[in-house]
Symmetry: C2
Subunit: 214 residues, 2 copies
DNA sequence: GCAAATTAATGATTTATTCAAG
DNA sequence: CTTGAATAAATCATTAATTTGC
């Protein structure tokens, strides 16, 4: 076997740049059609499948949240350090109070989870209203992202008629072969602001997100 | 529209019976091919899709674990009731110490999560070795369950060549149309015992699981 | 009895956590 | 250490049981 049984996707710089641009522009949870479109778009920069796109957004979103929480808890802790039983920072950072993969939290909380965060706020002095730690399920762009509909399309999509789905909705060309004509600024995703909690932290004044890729 | 836009799957008694039998026989995390097979098998008892099967096993497994944890915590609490600050059972069952959807746990633990359970055991006196609370990721039967490959197959599976995948491996007939000839005992899933933590609590002495459906 | 109101189950999604390749 | 991949936990949402007032 020349290619090995299973090797994980390794995004090319171009793919990564495009994905990050989409993310910066507010895309968080692309639906099946969007995933297909993005996959096709990125496939001219290297091997890629729909699930790679799906996972990339999932992980990127999760790790963004994680970083935010970490920063928040951290700053909260340092602001009220004296309350935490005279434990120095490294004492619970380095000694197993918090696993390296878990979210930072003051020692008395143990491992932080979505469920325990409220207690943290109860125990603290200030509400920290400005930063929503646990966003509700309404956080997605479209609610009809169904991994089950994302299948094999990237493999046998060459002349699959199901491909021309939401292309119009997204304002993307609906060429039936991998789009290899980038170098253009496209109108990507209509940013219907649905009261989302954590959407588009970057500047966004127009009603649609655009992405420049090259 | 006769059927309405979107209504969730409502399993028929036959479908439920078969699924539960498979679960009893040790199936926990069917892979894509198994899901396809099961879907096809159950489709003659009513409308069903691959994702329904996938979700059913996921939910059933999770809620089994939940029940087990609840029972364990419960019995542990009653065994060491005196330690819990003289709180009667209803005092923390009924007054918001434990949300109705969360796992039962003694009040000092707050909401139970997989992460907090170890602390619970640390705090307690006995190890309760016999029941593994938080099973590792190696808990699945096959590691290649990919929801992304489960798609539309139930919709346009009639003459899809990809269908005859693991049928042999599973010892199931590979008819290309929905199997509507039940009333038979089939050899279903080879129970390769891979050091699983929470597998097949029911009696299972042979090396393969069988299911009788009618 | 029976239908509105409540509650319990459970199907479907999203989020958090963990594993492991590189 | 970063991050792609996968699983488990938590949550949401709809349907079925069940209760309650008539």
């Amino acid at each position: 076997m020349p290619q090995g049984p299973t090797t994980r996707w390794c995004p090319t710089p171009e793919q990564l740049m495009i994905l990050e641009e989409m993310y910066r522009n507010g895309l968080r949870t692309p639906n099946a059609s969007q995933i297909q479109q993005i996959t096709r778009q990125l496939s001219c920069y290297g091997r890629i499948e729909g699930k790679n796109v799906f996972y990339w957004f999932q992980n990127h979103k999760a790790r963004d949240r994680q970083k935010l929480r970490r920063r928040l808890s951290m700053s909260y802790y340092f602001a009220h350090q004296s309350r935490f039983q005279n434990l120095a920072h490294h004492q619970f950072m380095d000694q197993g109070f918090v696993s390296p993969h878990s979210t930072f939290l003051p020692p008395f909380m143990g491992i932080q989870t979505a469920s325990t965060v409220p207690f943290f706020h109860q125990a603290g002095a200030e509400p920290m209203q400005e930063a929503v730690i646990h966003e509700p399920a309404s956080f997605l762009i479209g609610s009809d992202r169904r991994p089950w509909e994302t299948e094999h399309v990237s493999q046998a999509h060459a002349n699959d008629p199901n491909y021309h789905d939401l292309m119009m909705v997204m304002g993307l060309e609906s060429a039936s072969s991998p789009c290899c004509r980038p170098l253009k600024t496209l109108d990507l995703f209509p940013t219907k602001s649905t009261g989302l909690k954590e959407e588009c932290t970057s500047s966004k004044s127009t009603s649609s997100c655009t992405i420049t890729y090259c």
